[in-house]
């Protein structure tokens, strides 16, 4: 009975979504305030119904209601309750419901935090988001009802995929979806601006904090996914260029271009059309990501849920949203007046170049991701694109991007003086090169060139960023007071760029200097590896709530002192009879020691993988810094108009004496 309520609640949510999209958009076109006033209540009611539905699904999982097919396929009485909870989004239907729930969360957030928006504009934004919601609710009701009953009712469930039984996977999907779906807000703002034909720059200012928030979530979501893959898959890798990873990385690349382009549109009234296109593109890529992950068209270790008919539905949705917005764009965009002028040597130019580079980077990833699908669809054979392709093309695209980043932060808006810029940059460049080369030569014996290139790039980004702060305060008497006046956006940019640099260091050193061995070991064996001794002390049987495991206990010794004791497990999840590896990791600021049990061999020995991964933590540390930078920018006072006015008055007062 309660499951049917959940289903019915989704139908009600669809009804609300229809009201939420039709009336406000019509109202905005006709100037009918009554119609427009329906936007907020409809969005809030939709949220209520979606939440009820989601709550019922959670409840069904928690009480082990195996009469529901989705619960029976993804849960088990032995599954710990926290994983029964996260199993809600462990497969297709539930993750789709999560998608819709998150969309409605973003929508009501817009209704609550956008009091300053003109009513007609807000109505359009909410309306467009309602349209997206209609598409996904229809998709869900027609192809993927999570509340479908199963008969006969199984005695026990088929268990959650063991790969997903991990703390990282409890939070990774919701955060990633917050990012994906968050771009629907930027999309809503862009389409609302196109619909109204008011392509002035106010829409850019309004949508900036929202876009930044979505970008922050996506950044954290991707980093979490990478971290999870690192410790859970037991291969010591942190990025595989797997189609599902690419699916989240493409919107991130365009999202990054978008937040920079929005800044230019907001501050300098330029790139208006380009920014709109990027907003549409970011959301289209989020939809494409959903399609790739959820349709089962890709050969991927991640494709948990697979069903081709669903793929066609999502593809149709994608075609409607992208096609529709591009047609609208084609009609409206030519009428936009181009805004501020700028010279070749200006921050605008570098922002534009970087925007294009992000687009090119996205296209290369897109090519590698969907080319095999196209070839297969055309019956031209089966092929795959190897990770070396992505590595080979990505680095050369990032190189000019990094150079432009350093130039961009130091160049003024509108125009700059070339000789002055050169004078500033020369010292920074020499310093970066000198320090980078010294570090490379002192610390690394092999792959020196690549290591040096990465470190110099990171130093270039950090020094130019810090120098841009110095430029702002160097002529001020009271440096501390001057630093306090500088906007949070600026500090946000600083922190995010330094985060990027930290990430580059992590990626470079980990890729160039990680070492690993695959070795046969039995109890008592000692292996010398990377200046450490690994001593396999014991192998013992362990059992968990829904698995049996063998645990290896390994002492890591360096210079005759014990560094750490690693414990790695090889688990067999009993319900699905599926083996899983739990790696033993000693995490450190400058290196990780990583051990994973392979497989049992004859005469009581096991195959074991050992890794020494220097600076791998810096990759995720960099991502966290980028997210913190984004957060600082969101918290910038300029997005709160009243406070902003006050600030201008105080600044004027200070300036007068």
């Amino acid at each position: 009975m309660i499951a049917e309520l959940g289903h019915f609640s989704l139908v009600l949510a669809l009804a609300m979504a229809i009201i939420q999209s039709t009336f406000p958009i019509m109202g905005a076109a006709m100037g009918n305030l009554t119609y427009m006033s329906l936007a907020r209540p409809a969005a809030r009611l939709q949220f209520l119904f979606v939440s009820i539905s989601f709550g019922i699904l959670v409840y069904s999982f928690l009480i082990n209601d195996f009469s529901i097919s989705y619960v029976a396929n993804n849960s088990n009485t032995l599954l710990p309750w926290i994983y029964r909870f996260s199993a809600v989004w462990g497969a297709h239907e539930g993750s789709l419901l999560l998608w819709i729930l998150i969309l409605s969360i973003w929508t009501i957030a817009v209704t609550y935090f956008s009091h300053r928006l003109p009513e007609y504009f807000l109505s359009r934004v909410i309306g467009v988001m309602g349209l997206v919601s209609i598409g996904f609710l229809l998709f869900m009701l027609f192809t993927s009802n999570p509340f479908e009953r199963i008969f006969p009712i199984p005695l026990d469930g088929a268990d959650l995929n063991p790969l997903l039984q991990d703390p990282g996977l409890i939070i990774h999907p919701p955060i990633l979806y917050m990012g994906y779906v968050g771009f629907s807000v930027a999309f809503g703002f862009a389409i609302a601006a196109l619909l109204g034909g008011n392509l002035d720059t106010t829409w850019a200012r309004w949508s900036r904090p929202w876009t930044l928030l979505a970008w922050i979530f996506l950044t954290i979501g991707i980093a979490l996914g990478s971290w999870w893959a690192y410790y859970e898959l037991g291969w010591g890798g942190w990025w595989f260029w797997d189609p599902v990873e690419n699916a989240s990385f493409m919107p991130w690349l365009i999202g990054t271009a978008l937040i920079h382009s929005l800044a230019a549109t907001d501050k300098r009234e330029i790139f208006k059309n380009w920014t709109i296109l990027l907003a549409i593109c970011a959301f289209a890529l989020s939809l494409l990501g959903t399609f790739l992950v959820r349709s089962g068209v890709i050969t991927s270790v991640h494709a948990f849920a697979t069903d081709p008919t669903r793929g066609i539905f999502i593809l149709a949705l994608l075609a409607i949203f992208v096609g529709g917005s591009l047609v609208l764009y084609a009609f409206r965009a030519p009428s936009t007046k181009s805004g501020g002028k700028f010279k070749l040597l200006s921050r605008e130019t570098f922002l534009l170049f970087n925007s294009i580079l992000f687009l090119v980077a996205m296209l290369t990833v897109l090519l590698g991701t969907i080319y095999p699908l196209i070839i297969e669809a055309l019956n031209l054979g089966k092929l795959s694109v190897g990770a070396p392709y992505f590595n080979a093309v990505f680095v050369p695209i990032m190189a000019p991007l990094i150079i432009f980043l350093g130039l961009g932060v130091l160049t003024k808006w509108k125009q700059d003086d070339f000789s002055l810029l050169l004078k500033q940059l020369r010292n920074l460049l020499i310093a970066s090169l000198f320090i980078g080369i010294s570090i490379g030569l002192i610390f690394f014996e092999n792959n020196q060139l690549k290591s040096i290139a990465g470190i110099v790039a990171a130093l270039w980004i950090s020094t130019t960023s810090l120098y841009s702060l110095f430029v702002k305060i160097k002529n001020k008497k009271n440096k501390l007071a001057a630093m306090r006046i500088i906007s949070r956006s600026f500090y946000g940019m600083l922190v995010a760029h330094i985060g990027f640099a930290v990430c580059i260091v992590g990626i470079t050193i980990t890729s160039q200097h990680s070492v690993d061995i695959h070795q046969r070991m039995k109890i008592g064996d000692v292996i010398e590896f990377s200046n450490y001794q690994f001593h396999l002390k014991d192998l013992k049987a362990v059992s968990g709530p829904n698995y049996e495991a063998t645990e290896a206990i390994v002492d890591v010794i360096k210079n005759e002192s014990l560094i750490t004791t690693l414990r790695s497990q090889k688990r067999t999840y009993t319900v699905r009879n599926m083996p899983m590896t739990e790696a033993g990791i000693d995490a450190g600021f400058t290196r990780d020691i990583y051990m994973a049990l392979g497989e049992p061999l004859d005469n009581e020995s096991w195959s074991v993988r050992l890794y020494h991964k220097p600076f791998v933590r810096w990759i995720w540390l960099g991502a966290i810094l980028m997210a913190i930078g984004g957060l600082l920018a969101v918290l910038d006072k300029r997005y709160r108009l009243r406070i902003l006015k006050k600030k201008i008055i105080t600044i004027n007062n200070e300036a007068i004496p």
């Binding site: 790969l163 050969t299 089966k382 092929l383 795959s384 080979a392 046969r520 599926m578 899983m580 195959s607």
Partner: protein, 152 residues
């Protein structure tokens, strides 16, 4: 500099950049395409001799042999019509089992020996890599995955 000249300069910068990028991308792309061949296609001599490619099939029961002192392992992959011997040095994935469908990347060593750099098995005991399912279907074998499902 006039705005016209400036625009030409920017556009040419972008064009040059994009053409360099396109060349780089397409070269790297061409080099890293991995085609898939089934044991039957290899037996027919369709697979490349030098270039790396992917192979897929079922691991033949009782064909997995390990070296006693290191991690070298050999096994036979089959699409039920033709067989091919695979040599691999390293740790096999968690779901590698006899009778299981797997995919391997590597090169041919001689006419029917394949040296794998990487062996992939999917993280689901019922899951058949699509390439393997297709290869079995082409070879006319009943898909054991389907059979399994029906029996359940």
């Amino acid at each position: 500099m006039t705005s016209r000249k400036k625009r030409i300069l920017i556009v040419s910068f972008i064009l040059i950049g994009i053409s360099i990028a396109a060349t780089l991308i397409l070269t790297a792309f061409e080099e890293n395409l991995m085609y898939f061949y089934s044991p039957t296609e290899i037996a027919n001599g369709e697979a490349p001799k030098v270039r790396a490619f992917r192979i897929g099939g079922l691991v033949l029961t009782n064909s997995v042999k390990r070296n006693p002192n290191d991690l070298k392992v050999t096994f036979v992959l089959t699409d039920t019509v033709n067989e091919i011997k695979v040599i691999y040095d390293g740790i096999l994935p968690d779901l590698f089992r006899e009778g299981q469908g797997i995919v391997a990347n590597g090169k041919m060593k001689s006419d029917n020996i394949f040296v794998a750099d990487e062996v992939l098995a999917k993280h689901d005991e019922n899951y058949m890599p699509p390439e393997v399912a297709k290869a079995l279907e082409d070879a006319g074998a009943l898909n054991p995955y389907q059979e399994n499902k029906v029996a359940k």
